[in-house]
């Protein structure tokens, strides 16, 4: 999975003896990375097949071997970005393994914010520019965000007072976090996302632990 920072690797020119399959995979990855980087620089409207191809050092005709349109490339790029984030968050949860639920949630949130802050183009496509690219992408965004709800809910204790937190509330929490982060990314504050970790953690824990309980955990960390 490529990292979405500004440098890209290129295949050597001319005959290189690499299999067509390798070249194709490499090209596809480079196009996806190029889209994400270009999007971050000029926004959705101005991200063209020409710019993407130029950035990826892939000809236009080769672009169209991989994708029917800019939007199809966009969808693939979006999926790749979601997978990257999911992998990092799952790894953080697994790494926190034997720790209790608040510990796992904290690990996931810190890993998420650190990743986004370190790779602004990734944050941009997922949470800001990606939202303006049309309904298909918006649908992907919605289902990507929703896919994190079971991660939040798993092992969550019932709130003080007995009644289990309704599933809708965990959806509201995940949706609310996505919305908050998206606003900050759109405002150009991606690099300082990690500073939001205490707020985000309190917001995520409160429906299950109560606000008092959530704050105790956040201060202890």
């Amino acid at each position: 999975m490529p990292q979405f920072d500004a440098e890209m690797d290129r295949l050597p020119r001319g005959r290189h003896g690499l299999s067509p399959e390798f070249v194709a995979r490499n090209q596809r990855e480079r196009l996806i990375t190029a889209l994400i980087l270009t999007l971050d620089e000029v926004g959705y409207q101005k991200t063209t097949v020409s710019l993407i191809g130029a950035r990826a050092a892939v000809s236009k005709s080769d672009f169209y071997k991989h994708f029917r349109s800019k939007d199809e490339c966009f969808l693939a790029a979006y999926e790749a970005a979601v997978e990257r984030v999911r992998a990092v968050v799952l790894e953080a949860c697994a790494g926190a393994g034997s720790v209790d639920w608040p510990g796992r949630v904290r690990a996931a949130i810190v890993a998420l914010l650190e990743l986004l802050a370190a790779e602004p183009p990734l944050a941009g496509i997922l949470l800001a520019e990606g939202l303006r690219a049309g309904r298909d992408i918006h649908e992907r965004y919605r289902s990507a965000i929703e896919s994190f709800v079971p991660l939040l809910r798993e092992g969550a204790p019932d709130p003080p007072g007995g009644e289990p937190a309704p599933p809708a509330i965990d959806e509201a929490v995940v949706g609310g976090i996505a919305s908050l982060l998206g606003r900050r990314v759109a405002a150009g504050e991606t690099a300082s996302l990690t500073a939001l970790a205490p707020d985000v953690l309190e917001f995520a824990l409160a429906p299950h632990l109560g606000t008092e309980g959530a704050r105790r955990i956040v201060s202890a960390g």
Partner: protein, 201 residues
């Protein structure tokens, strides 16, 4: 010989036609999405001449924005009416009343709700900006209305409004419009409970 028709004021007729065009836009967007909604279909649904549409609006986007503004304004009327009888200090009751009004509006006007919540973010940059501004407005209102206390995360209102809008979007998107009012207890609790705490962080 037919009876003479009562003369409606020109303003009334014009406003009525404008309303029909806005409603037609909402219905069509709800059915097929903003991209697929065509001016030809709007004028047919609204029973107006094409010229009438272009006398009132510069084009599809302009009409969409007007429909968005109208949906928001209509919802505001419901919210204001619901809060009218309540003391300004009764924050939890006012929040519940406002949410009840909003959820009731969604149930009663699903096309308008869909236009504002589902279509607007992806109906072009102007619509997205309008949507963002509306969200900003709700965040500011929540911040003003909610009880102040030290230790509150500064991001709380952004997250609460974002989460509430997320749930409403989900409800509208799924077409579970009639069940929207059933969300009231959960959403009210979601919004008011963070403000009940007494401890500092």
């Amino acid at each position: 010989m037919s009876a003479a028709r009562p003369q409606l004021s020109q303003d009334f007729v014009a406003a009525h036609k404008r309303r029909r065009m806005i409603d037609a836009m909402s219905e069509l967007c709800a059915e097929r999405g903003y991209e697929a909604a065509k001016i030809a279909d709007v004028v047919r649904h609204a029973h107006v001449a094409r010229k009438t549409l272009y006398d009132n609006f510069t084009g599809k986007e302009d009409l969409f924005l007007a429909a968005f503004d109208t949906a928001l304004a209509d919802a505001e009327v419901e919210i204001a009416a619901a809060c009218a009888g309540l003391p300004p200090t009764a924050w939890e009751a006012r929040t519940e009343a406002a949410l009840r009004a909003l959820l009731g509006f969604i149930a009663a006007h699903p096309a308008a709700a869909r236009l504002a919540l589902v279509e607007a973010p992806t109906a072009g940059p102007a619509a997205a900006a309008r949507y963002d501004a509306a969200i900003d407005g709700f965040i500011a209102r929540l911040r003003d209305a909610a009880p102040t206390a030290p230790g509150r995360p500064t991001t709380l209102e952004e997250a609460l409004v974002g989460g509430t809008v997320w749930i409403m979007h989900r409800q509208v998107r799924r077409g579970d419009i009639a069940k929207a009012p059933a969300l009231l207890p959960e959403l009210t609790e979601f919004i008011v409970s963070p403000y009940r705490s007494v401890g500092k962080r």
